[in-house]
């Protein structure tokens, strides 16, 4: 992906030298070839975004009446809403508490399973299984795992004469229960990227490190991790995007409860659009999310490019 971006840049740079007013033949051809996807993008991505911006600026002034221009009123109401701030805070905790552990876990698993043996291949496949389930299905399974008293977790805790908390019904625990599910679901996926990334670490770098007398920890710290930087950056982007765009499990397991303790931004937007029937505020919430996503993506892509630069000085 980054490779493509880099080469696209190179092309752009080459072209800016003495470009004629009229597009050159190959530019016209390029646009011609791009036209079908540009058309689809325009219809299904950019047009809805424009519509969304308009909706975010409108509100119903009379009940049952039309949507009228309301300026930034929706954004004011959005940030004044305690539930929105709560969802934002929850999302931050959720982001930190899922991305970092999944990354560490995925890296650990990848390091443990990097050598291609038959046992490792089997283990890799097993660890990858959660990725194959749709999130909705995984959440439905966890509904039974978390079931108080009868569920899988409580069943085994009871054998140890312990009683678990009300996993999804206690406002102090519910968000962490959902985070556990997310980590379980994503770690195997991220492991795959790390496995690929580890193939790119040259063997002679390790040999040199061993000759210099580096212990395993030093080899990880000074050889493996620097080579994996682009992979870490990339997985981080994917992880952060997942955090904002996936709420299927919240929908299935808690509907944002108890008392909004598992409400995340996207689910809040859903509630505004569907339960409160406030299209304007839902659109405003979506725009805030969109801004967050753009910031995350832009920030991480720049980091990515920089780390590519470091690799080949």
């Amino acid at each position: 992906m980054t490779q493509a971006i880099l080469s696209a840049r190179a092309i752009g740079a080459g072209e800016s030298r003495g470009r004629p007013f009229w597009p050159r033949g190959d530019t016209a051809l390029a646009f011609g070839l791009l036209a079908p996807s540009l058309l689809l993008l325009g219809l299904f991505t950019y047009a809805p975004v424009v519509q969304l911006v308009w909706q975010a600026l409108t509100a119903q002034s009379t009940i049952g009446g039309p949507q009228l221009f309301a300026g930034l009123e929706n954004f004011r109401a959005l940030f004044a809403d305690g539930a929105f701030r709560k969802a934002l805070a929850n999302n931050l905790i959720y982001a930190l508490g899922t991305v970092v552990p999944s990354l560490v876990l995925a890296l650990g698993l990848a390091l443990a399973l990097v050598r291609s043996t038959q046992v490792n291949a089997l283990l890799r496949a097993l660890l990858f299984v959660p990725v194959l389930f749709p999130l909705v299905a995984a959440a439905s399974i966890f509904l039974f795992i978390f079931l108080p008293g009868i569920g899988l977790l409580d069943y085994h805790l009871a054998k140890l004469a312990l009683s678990g908390p009300n996993w999804l019904g206690d406002p102090d625990v519910a968000l962490y229960a959902i985070m556990g599910l997310t980590i379980w679901k994503n770690a195997g996926y991220y492991m795959l990227f790390f496995l690929a990334g580890l193939q790119g670490v040259p063997a002679d770098a390790y040999e040199a490190a061993i000759l210099d007398g580096a212990n395993p920890w030093q080899r990880l710290r000074h050889v493996t991790l620097p080579y994996l930087k682009p992979t870490i950056g990339f997985v981080m982007v994917i992880g952060l995007l997942n955090v904002v765009t996936q709420v299927d499990h919240v929908f299935v397991l808690t509907k944002g409860g108890p008392s909004d303790s598992t409400n995340l931004l996207l689910f809040y937007v859903y509630q505004q659009a569907v339960e409160t029937y406030d299209v304007g505020r839902a659109a405003a919430g979506t725009l805030v999310m969109l801004a967050l996503l753009l910031a995350i993506t832009a920030g991480s892509l720049r980091t990515l490019e920089r780390s590519f630069g470091e690799k080949e000085p």
Binding site: T62, I63, G64, L143, L147, P148, G149, I150, A158, A161, L162, S163, P165, N166, L168, G169, D170, P171, D172, K255, G256, G257, P258, S259, D260, Q271, V274, E275, T276, Y277
Partner: protein, 443 residues
């Protein structure tokens, strides 16, 4: 189930395709019915059977059932279809969404259709149990026809009662009985509770409904049934109800803490981990099929009086459905709510048949004779009243449910929780109140 759903979807797609073809005089009127299945896949099949029978009996109409998920999803899909200019001819809609839909101008009054049949509104609604009128008739106009309904009900494990030395013929009738029985039924191993005396569901939607039942049993009203802009959260009747629930957890220690989802409550009852539960009458068939022990049902125990809210769904016709499609929808609605069909659906699902005459059919009499629990459920309808419905019902309900959940988790005291809920609800209701009750002559 998937195949059924898939074939339904295929049917819907086919119907949509056909409706694009030019209409000929002989072609039947095509109508779609959006229907939710709040319980399980079996019901989707039952609905297909029902509609097939309707189409055979009415060659001039071709009705297509479209499965639309839960109650909430049905609301979403109906609104989406209306926005796209393709409103379904009829929808089975959660009964407490009708007021909201009427306020937003999304469903039509059925008065004209009733009048065209030569009936008055009173004559038409007279065929249904009086408890169901409140959620169907708004400002004296009929907006919905009750299709299947429910009330909360107390389910009791008879084996556990006997084990605890309690008389299975005398089920708890009031709150004191309930606490006494629940204490005897609760089992502990050291610090760990292995069986709870009673469990009430408290997830969103269910929790509000059960709290309404407790509030009404405590003499309260919860909301103004005549005006959609008022709720009575910060009142003594509600304080008593919420404190009672919170005492079951913190004081009497006979009820698990935190939110209990509806599905978890019925599982706990079926697994013998809770001796008593309050659940919808809509769970009757599920419990009857799966309980491996004798159980009994009773009215929701009272503090001051027996009164519970209704639940369930009504048939509505969205705005914009006109002409032949409107007439066909009306034919379908009347057919589906007739005594025989109503009784058949009730036996299939466990919901009440809203049509009183359904209980005079021989099949239904035989059914009640073999399943006395269904009979108890119907008797409670005499003590039922309207389901909570206001302007923006769901967020107004969520305002109290968030606080209820905080109380059940021991995070808040009932009094402060109710004050917070009232404030939040008033805030949501403000635009409606300002445009109705507080819109006064300025000159």
């Amino acid at each position: 189930m998937t195949t059924t759903r898939r074939s339904l979807l295929a049917g819907a797609a086919l119907a949509a395709g056909l409706s694009l073809a030019p209409a000929f005089a002989q072609t039947p009127t095509e109508i779609e019915l959006f229907f939710p299945v709040p319980v399980d896949g079996q019901l989707a099949r039952d609905m297909a059977v029902l509609i097939k029978e309707f189409n055979t009996a009415h060659p001039a109409i071709k009705a297509t059932p479209v499965y639309t998920g839960s109650y909430d999803e049905t609301l979403i899909k109906t609104r989406a279809a209306m926005k796209a200019g393709k409103a379904p001819a009829a929808v089975i809609m959660s009964a407490n969404f009708l007021l909201d839909l009427k306020i937003e101008g999304e469903i039509q009054s059925l008065d004209g259709l009733v009048k065209a049949d030569g009936k008055t509104n009173e004559q038409f609604m007279g065929q249904f149990f009086p408890a169901l009128h409140g959620n169907a008739v708004i400002d004296r106009s009929i907006y919905g026809v009750p299709f299947h309904n429910s009330t909360p009900l107390l389910y009791v494990n008879v084996d556990h009662l006997k084990e605890a030395g309690l008389d299975p013929e005398k089920l708890p009738e009031n709150w004191q009985d309930l606490v006494t029985a629940a204490k005897k039924l609760t089992r502990r191993e050291g610090e760990r509770t292995t069986r709870w005396g009673i469990t009430l569901p408290s997830n969103y939607d269910y929790g509000g409904w059960i709290l309404q039942a407790l509030t009404q049993s405590n003499g309260g009203q919860w909301f103004n049934p005549e005006f959609g802009g008022e709720v009575y959260y910060d009142t003594p009747s509600m304080l008593g109800a919420l404190t009672f629930w919170s005492d079951l957890i913190a004081k009497h220690k006979v009820h698990p803490s935190g939110v209990q989802a509806g599905g978890a409550v019925s599982s706990a009852f079926l697994a013998g981990q809770s001796s008593m539960v309050l659940l919808s009458t809509g769970s009757l068939t599920h419990i009857r099929t799966n309980a491996k022990f004798p159980y009994k049902v009773a009215f929701v125990p009272k503090n001051l009086r027996n009164e519970v809210p209704i639940g369930g769904a009504s048939l509505v016709i969205p705005k914009g459905v006109e002409g032949e499609r409107r007439k066909a929808a009306w034919t379908l609605i009347n057919w589906m709510t007739s005594p025989e069909k109503s009784a058949w659906w009730s036996r299939a699902t466990g919901y009440f048949a809203p049509n009183k005459a359904a209980y005079d059919t021989p099949e239904m009499k035989a059914f009640i004779a073999t399943n006395p629990d269904a009979g108890v459920a119907v008797k409670q309808l005499d003590y039922a009243s309207a389901w909570f419905a206001t302007y923006k019902t769901v967020p107004v309900r969520k305002a109290i449910e968030d606080e209820l959940q905080a109380v059940l988790a021991g995070k808040k005291q009932p009094k402060e929780a109710l004050a917070a809920a009232q404030k939040q609800a008033d805030e949501i209701l403000r635009p409606y109140v300002e445009q109705t009750a507080l819109k006064l002559p300025t000159q």
